[in-house]
Amino acid sequence: MRARDGLALAGGLGVAGLLVAAFLRMPAVGGTVHVYRDLVLPAAQHANTPNLVSSVNFDLRALDTLGEETIVAAAVVGVLTLLPPRRKALPPERGYVLPTVRFTGYLLLPVAVVLGLDVVLHGHLTPGGGFQGGVVLATGWHLLYLAGSHSALQRLRPLTWLEHTEAAATGLYVVTGLAGLLAAGSFLANFLPRGSFGSLVSAGTVPLLSVFVGMEVAAGVVVLLSRFLAHGLGHAR
């Protein structure tokens, strides 16, 4: 280990030197020159989208988001391949959940689910969007496991439906893109009516794509965690 640590330290110092040289050539933090911001702001205001980040993600650079959600889908497929489904039943559950934890969990479960849906649906108006809302939904769903038990989670988690939802949502994103191609001449064009600034149904295809990504990410994360839970809990120490 000694030689390896010494080599790593030398390499780390060299990289640190290169990074310092690079950072000295970069503009100072807090400057006023931001070219992309000056391009995005009028474009998003024209499309009636208050949340500029959602506008960039689902309107101006929607193609990149298609690539990223494909990465999420591919990673979920990879995990499902590497961790095969369990054939044996899980061992009976031991362990004790404090009544306080149980109560708080059950109280917060509907709050978390509604919050996740709100973050997804209002992605074009307030901070949020498909990616964040999807993960919040998936995490809230697992409050059922934390406050209750794994069998409670299994009863209220239709895995086949979730796998279909994930695939369908990815496909619907592409379908919306093709509809934009047919309606406005370019793939993933924002062809739906803009609506009035700040209302729920506005900004064209941005809330629609946000909902599709939210469905995909939520379903993907729940399926991912289900496979890890089955493997982690099934092998009692």
Binding site: R37, P50, T65, A75
Partner: protein, 113 residues
């Protein structure tokens, strides 16, 4: 302020790589990789920051300047995607432990000949 922000990005990257080098357990390696990735998020957001500007949620006639939303869009999808990649790496770790019986990187010799 410039030195502090860029310095943090470099620091997180280097300690993440240091953690990977000194790691004795593959799961520790994956978590250190996650720390190294956080360095890039800090760098991106520091580039887009403007002193005295607000968050990129605008009104129709926006007077106050806002920070750059492009780098924020890059970072936020990056965070969710790298969480799923972390899950994939952890699933690989499980498979490695099943096939070789160990998760110590020093003991994994299967790539030899």
């Amino acid at each position: 302020m410039t030195a502090v922000c860029y310095g943090l990005a470099g620091w997180l990257l280097l300690i993440g790589c240091g953690g990977i080098v000194r790691s004795r357990h593959l799961v520790h390696t994956v978590v250190s990789l996650s720390v190294a990735q956080s360095g890039t998020y800090v760098l991106l957001l520091a580039i887009g920051y403007q002193k005295g500007a607000g968050a990129p949620i605008v009104g129709q006639r926006q007077q106050v300047p806002v920070v750059d939303p492009t780098v924020q869009a890059l970072t936020l999808t990056d965070i969710v995607v790298s969480a799923t990649i972390t899950a994939l790496l952890l699933a690989l770790t499980v498979q490695i432990s099943r096939r070789h019986g160990t998760v110590d990187p020093d003991e994994l010799r299967a790539l030899r000949g």
